[in-house]
């Protein structure tokens, strides 16, 4: 009996030779415990060593293997062949990012945005080591815990039409992380983050398409974070209007 096979159609782009990206089809063995990343590894090891893509953990933790799979942003280590078999699978690099080579995208834009929202605890006062740890109750932790789960896989940016239309938009994961630190009881950096999050390129470009939350493999729900930031920023704005002599 011959082994069952599956066709994988991959968008290739080799900057030194290609003018435009083009699809190339490979036939790979079908195993029901294989994910798309396994198929790519099979191609790379046995069929075409020139294929480029990023991956590391193979367990939905590192966030480096995001790709468009049949038009949907997914972690390729998390997308089982059995969900597509016997149909062809179409694999493309993540939408909305420039293609560096084959399935590898240029993510510098996100890295800059992530840095701009200061995604780390900014304490009101530095604590000396002998003051001990800054205690936080489980209830306080749970207000933001979901937002800490982000693995920077950028599926949400690939899913977001507003990011595609307005590349200056800070975007879902960065805004969700800003919200995460704003909600943290140890943090006092909200004012600084608001400079970015509440600016014109911050939350206001979001039209609540909601796709970021749909595709997020870690249930971070960036759409909710953005919505809550819009409300809080609006309240700030009216407060400042009513009390122009208040702080700031």
């Amino acid at each position: 009996m011959t082994e069952p096979t599956l066709q994988v159609e991959i968008l290739r782009y080799r900057p030194e030779t290609d003018q435009d990206p083009a699809f190339q089809t490979y036939t790979v063995p079908y195993r029901d415990d294989w994910v798309v990343l396994d198929a790519l590894n099979h191609i790379k090891d046995n069929i075409d060593r020139t294929l480029s893509y990023r991956w590391s953990c193979h367990m939905a933790v590192c966030g480096s293997c995001g790709m468009m799979i049949n038009g949907e942003p997914k972690l390729s280590c998390h997308a089982f062949l059995r969900d597509y078999y016997p149909n062809k699978i179409r694999v493309e690099p993540l939408n909305n990012f420039p293609i560096e080579r084959d399935l590898v995208t240029v993510t510098d834009d996100f890295m800059e945005k992530l840095e701009s929202v200061k995604p780390y605890v900014i304490p009101k006062q530095e604590r000396a080591v002998d003051e001990g740890p800054h205690l936080q109750t489980p209830a306080q932790l749970n207000t933001f815990k979901q937002y800490t789960m982000c693995i920077n896989c950028l599926l949400c940016y690939a899913a977001c039409p507003q990011y595609g239309l307005t590349p200056d938009f800070v975007g879902p994961a960065a805004l969700a992380l800003a919200h995460r630190y704003n909600l943290d009881t140890r943090d006092a950096g909200r004012e600084q983050r608001q400079e970015i999050a509440a600016s014109n390129e911050g939350v206001w470009d979001c039209t609540f398409v909601g796709e970021c939350s749909q595709v997020c493999p870690k249930s971070v729900d960036p759409a909710a974070a953005i919505q809550q930031t819009k409300i809080a920023s609006t309240i700030d704005w009216y407060k400042a209007l009513l009390n122009p002599w208040g702080k700031r």
Binding site: P161, T166, E195, N200, S233, T234
Partner: protein, 115 residues
């Protein structure tokens, strides 16, 4: 310090969206379908009744809110939707959308004050 003036339009958008989520379907049903089709009596919208309603100061405020907020909601959403459809974000589109909402609101206020 305001980082952006978007909160003004966004709060009108959100308020209007909330209000119209609750009241627009039933209003459309009554005035556009039930009464014209005879499912509800024409008296519901009769001249005398509507006049009494529109002359009541509290009803005037309610009517104004029901016109004004959804109108701004719609104008803001129209602007973002035109952008979604490929129209560049610019002063012209913004002036047209918000300008239309402003004109509509003024017209509503004038008509309500004069009844």
């Amino acid at each position: 310090m305001a980082k952006s003036n978007k909160p003004i339009v966004w709060s009108l958008f959100a308020g209007g969206g909330m209000l119209s989520a609750f009241v627009t379907p039933v209003l459309i049903f009554i005035t556009g379908l039930a009464v014209p089709l005879g499912l509800m009596s024409l008296d519901s919208l009769s001249y005398d009744r509507m006049l009494v309603l529109a002359q009541n100061p509290i009803a005037k405020i309610v009517l104004f809110a029901v016109i004004f907020l959804p109108l701004w909601h719609a104008a803001h959403r129209l602007l973002t939707t035109l952008h979604d459809l490929g129209l560049p974000k610019g002063r012209i589109a913004m002036t047209l959308c918000y300008g239309a909402a402003a004109l509509g609101s003024i017209a509503a206020a004038v008509v309500l004050l004069r009844i």
